[in-house]
C-alpha cells in the first residue's frame, strides 16, 4: 500500500521511495527503504505526519501517495 492510505497509530515499514530527490532528503532524516516509522496523524486531505524515534515529519499528501509501505502487524 502507499503511505497516504495509512491510519493513525499504525507501524509501517518503508518499501520504496521512487523519487531520487525525495529519497536523498528522506535519508538525511533517517528514513530509508527498510526503516520502520509510525503514522502519528493524518490531516484530512492534507499531510501525513510520521515519526521515527524522536523525529516527526509532515509529508505532503501527494508525496505520501508515491511512497510504498507495508503494514507491520
Amino acid at each position: 500500500m502507499t503511505l497516504d492510505k495509512a491510519k493513525r497509530g499504525q507501524q509501517l515499514i518503508i518499501r520504496k521511495i521512487p523519487d531520487e530527490l525525495v529519497r536523498a532528503q528522506a535519508i538525511r532524516f533517517g528514513i530509508t527503504e527498510g526503516s520502520v516509522i509510525t503514522c502519528e496523524e493524518i490531516v484530512p486531505a492534507g499531510p501525513v505526519v510520521v515519526r521515527r524515534s524522536k523525529q516527526e515529519i509532515a509529508i505532503g499528501r501527494n508525496l505520501a501517495k508515491n511512497i510504498d509501505v507495508d503494514l507491520i502487524q
Binding site: 536523498a24 533517517g30 490531516v43 499531510p47 509532515a58
Partner: protein, 644 residues
C-alpha cells in the same frame, strides 16, 4: 567584538553549522557578543553575519540537514562551510539519528570539526543517554556536551576549538571518491552529483549520491546504536500539545484562539490602552505643548520653519509622536508575538495544518512561515522565501508578501485606527484581507504554469519559549526598526511640509481628485498619505491619519493603503531576487490593484448604504465571507487531491 568581513590575516574562519533549530545562533551570540537570528543574513551576495572572538572569526550558517545544495539556503550554507578553516557542528542530543548525518557528511568531506552535543537537558528528560567517550571514538573528532541556552559547556568548547580535526570517514567511501586531492570537499560533492560545484570546476557531476547517502546513513545508524541508550518515558505534555495543534478538530480552533489572543493583546491592550495613554496623555498633553512652548521663544509662530518643525507634518510633533507614541509600542507587541511563535515550534504545525489551502494557492504549507514572518517585516520575509522549493513558489510568495501582507509597522497603525471603529470593522477588514490573499494566490496558481512542490517539513518539539530570549529578540528588532525608520520618517515628514508650504501638495491633491474623491470617496487631502506610502506603507497609513475622515472613509483608506505598493526596502529586495522586469511588473500590478480593491469596497459600501435599515459593516463582512467561500471552493477544486 567587531563586525568584520570574513577574511582577515592570521585568523581562523569557523563556521557554526548544524540542523535547523539546534541552537547555533545561541552559541554564535555567546562567542561574539553579537545578536543574530536566522533571518539575519542579507541579500543575494554571500554576506553572512560574522563576529570575532580572539583569533577566530565565527560565521552563523543557516541550518541544513546535509551538504546537499537542494535549496538556495543549503547552497549558501555549503559555500560558507567550504570557505571555512574549521566547523563547529552543533547537534541536538535528542535527535542524534538525524543530526549525525550532517556530522558524517562534514567528516567525509574532510573538514576539521568539533561536535557540540547540545540540549543535553532535553535529551535526559526524554530518557536518552549518550556515551560521549564512545561517540568521540566512533566519529574520531572531539565531542563537547552542552546546554547552550544556559551557557553550559561553551567555555570548554572555546578551549577545545584548536583540537578540531578530520574524523573517521564512512567505510567504502574511498572506493568511490579520490580522497587524496587538495580539493577533497569539492571532489566528494561532485561525486554526489552537486551541479554547482561540478560547474565551477568544469567537470560533470557524478552519480554516486544515492549510494554514498545510503552508506553514510548506515554508518550513522550503527554509531547511534552503539552510543545511545534509550528508556521509554511517558509522552510529555509538549508532545500532547503538539498533537492537538495538528488535528484539524482541535488545531483550527486553537489557531483561531491564538489569533483572538493576539488581537486582545495587540489590538485591545497595546493599541488602545497603552498607545492611548502615551499618544494622548504623554505626547498630546505634555510633550507637544512643551515643544511648542519652548520653540515659540525662538521661532516665529506660523512661519515656514514653524510649520516644518511643529506643524501638521511637524518633524518634532507628528514624526516624533508617531514613531515613539504609536509605532514603537505596537511594533514591540507584534515582535513579541512573532518571537513567541517562532520559538515555540508552532509555525511548522500551522504549516502542516494549512498545507491543503496553500497547495491551492500554488504554494505548500512551508510558505506559511514566510507569510507569517511578513507580519513582522515584509523585507526579511521576502528574503526568507529562499527556503521554498521552486522558483514558481518563490514568485507567488513574494507577490503575496508585497501585496497582501501588512508588516508590523503598518499593522500597528491599522490596528490602532480600526480597533477604535468597532468589532465589525475589524471583522470586515480581516475577512477582506484574507479573501484577497487567498484569491490572489489561487489566481496566480492558475495563471503561472507548474504545480506545487510537496511538503516535507521537520516538526520540532513544542517548547515553552524562554522569556529572556523572547524579550531580547523583541527589543532588538524594535530598536532596529526605530533606527531604520526614524531618518526616513523624518525625511518624509519634511518632504510633505515643504510640499505644503510651496503649494505643491494642493496641486497634487487637485490632480488626484478623480482617484481619491470620485473613485475612493475620500477627502482630497488623503493624497498626502498615498505620497508617503511610496516610501513606506506605514508612513502612508500614518499620513492618512492626519486627515479628518468619517469611519467609512477611514475604512476605505485603510483597505487601499493595506494593498498599496511595498516599502522601498522591500522593493529593492524584490528587484534583487526577481530582476528588474519582473520586479517592476509586480510593483505596477500591486499599485493598480490597491486602488481597484479600495474603490470596489467604497462602491459596495455606497450600495449597501442605499438599502434602508441596514448597518453597513456587518453586511460588508457577510459579503466578504460569501466571496471568501467562493474563493475557497475554487481553491479546493483547483488541485483537488481528492479528485484522483
Amino acid at each position: 567584538m567587531h563586525n568584520s568581513t570574513c577574511h582577515c590575516g592570521n585568523v581562523y574562519n569557523v563556521a557554526i553549522t548544524g540542523n535547523p533549530n539546534v541552537g547555533k545562533s545561541v552559541i554564535f551570540n555567546y562567542f561574539t557578543n553579537m545578536y543574530t537570528d536566522v533571518s539575519n543574513y542579507p541579500g543575494t551576495t554571500i554576506d553572512v553575519i560574522c563576529g570575532r572572538c580572539g583569533a577566530y572569526v565565527f560565521s552563523d550558517v543557516p541550518g541544513i540537514y546535509g551538504l546537499s545544495g537542494f535549496t538556495e539556503e543549503e547552497r549558501l550554507a555549503r559555500d560558507i562551510i567550504l570557505r571555512s578553516d574549521i566547523a563547529v557542528n552543533v547537534v541536538d542530543a535528542s535527535h542524534l539519528e538525524r543530526d549525525l548525518f550532517l556530522t558524517q557528511h562534514l567528516i567525509d568531506a574532510g573538514i576539521p570539526i568539533i561536535v557540540v552535543l547540545n540540549m543535553m537537558d532535553e535529551a535526559k528528560e526524554q530518557g536518552i543517554y549518550i556515551k560521549i567517550d564512545e561517540l568521540e571514538k566512533e566519529l574520531g573528532v572531539p565531542v563537547v556536551p552542552a546546554v547552550a541556552v544556559n551557557k553550559n559547556g561553551l567555555d570548554l568548547l572555546l578551549k577545545k576549538l584548536p583540537e578540531a580535526k578530520t574524523g573517521n570517514i564512512t567505510p567504502k567511501l574511498q572506493e568511490k571518491v579520490d580522497l587524496n586531492t587538495p580539493s577533497r570537499p569539492e571532489a566528494l560533492l561532485i561525486a554526489e552529483g552537486d551541479e554547482d560545484i561540478a560547474g565551477r570546476n568544469s567537470c560533470r557531476p557524478g552519480n554516486y549520491r544515492d549510494e554514498l547517502y545510503r552508506l553514510r546513513r548506515k554508518r550513522v545508524n550503527e554509531i547511534v546504536d552503539k552510543v545511545v541508550r534509550e528508556i521509554t518515558v511517558e509522552a510529555s505534555l509538549s508532545a500532547k500539545i503538539g498533537r492537538l495543534m495538528l488535528k484539524p478538530a482541535t488545531g483550527i480552533p486553537l489557531l483561531l484562539i491564538t489569533l483572538l489572543a493576539i488581537y486582545q493583546l495587540i489590538g485591545v491592550f497595546v493599541a488602545q490602552t497603552v498607545v492611548g495613554y502615551i499618544e494622548e496623555v504623554i505626547m498630546g498633553q505634555y510633550y507637544q505643548p512643551l515643544v511648542r512652548h519652548i520653540l515659540s521663544g525662538v521661532v516665529t509662530e506660523d512661519s515656514a520653519l514653524w510649520s516644518v518643525l511643529v506643524g501638521q507634518f511637524g518633524l518634532l510633533t507628528m514624526a516624533v509622536t508617531y514613531l515613539f507614541g504609536l509605532l514603537l509600542p505596537l511594533i514591540f507587541g507584534f515582535q513579541l508575538v512573532l518571537s513567541i511563535l517562532e520559538d515555540s515550534g508552532y509555525l511548522p504545525r500551522i504549516a502542516t495544518l494549512l498545507d491543503r489551502l496553500l497547495i491551492g494557492m500554488g504554494l505548500n504549507g512551508q510558505a506559511v512561515i514566510p507569510l507569517i514572518l511578513g507580519f513582522g517585516c515584509v523585507t526579511m520575509a521576502t528574503i526568507s522565501t529562499r527556503m521554498l522549493g521552486s522558483d514558481r513558489e518563490k514568485l507567488i510568495a513574494i507577490f503575496l508578501l508585497a501585496f497582501a501582507v501588512p508588516c508590523s509597522a503598518q499593522m500597528a497603525i491599522i490596528t490602532s485606527m480600526i480597533a477604535g471603529l468597532g468589532f465589525f470593522y475589524v471583522l470586515a477588514y480581516g475577512l477582506i484581507l484574507f479573501t484577497v490573499m487567498v484569491g490572489a494566490g489561487t489566481l496566480l496558481a492558475k495563471v503561472i504554469p507548474g504545480s506545487s512542490t510537496d511538503l516535507w517539513i521537520d516538526l520540532p518539539p513544542v517548547r515553552l519559549p524562554r522569556l529572556a530570549n523572547v524579550l531580547k529578540k523583541t527589543w532588538i528588532k524594535s530598536a532596529e526598526f526605530i533606527k531604520e525608520a526614524a531618518p526616513l520618517f523624518a525625511a518624509g515628514a519634511l518632504f510633505l511640509s515643504l510640499l505644503k508650504i510651496t503649494g505643491g501638495l494642493t496641486f497634487i491633491e487637485n490632480l488626484l481628485v478623480p482617484i481619491t474623491v470620485h473613485w475612493l470617496g475620500l477627502p482630497k487631502e488623503a493624497a498626502g498619505g498615498f505620497i508617503l506610502g511610496f516610501i513606506r506603507r506605514e508612513f502612508g497609513t500614518a499620513g492618512l491619519f492626519t486627515t479628518p475622515m468619517d469611519p467609512v472613509q477611514q475604512f476605505v483608506a485603510l483597505i487601499t493603503i493595506t494593498f498599496f505598493v511595498p516599502c522601498i526596502a522591500t522593493a529593492m529586495i524584490i528587484f534583487k531576487e526577481r530582476g528588474w522586469k519582473q520586479g517592476a511588473a509586480i510593483w505596477l500590478v500591486i499599485f493598480v490593484l490597491a486602488f481597484i480593491i479600495g474603490g470596489l469596497v467604497a462602491k459596495f459600501i455606497q450600495v449597501i448604504n442605499t438599502m434602508p435599515g441596514v448597518s453597513v459593516m456587518p453586511v460588508l463582512a457577510g459579503l466578504a465571507l460569501i466571496v471568501l467561500s467562493v474563493v475557497l471552493w475554487v481553491n479546493w477544486k483547483s488541485e483537488g487531491i481528492l479528485k484522483t
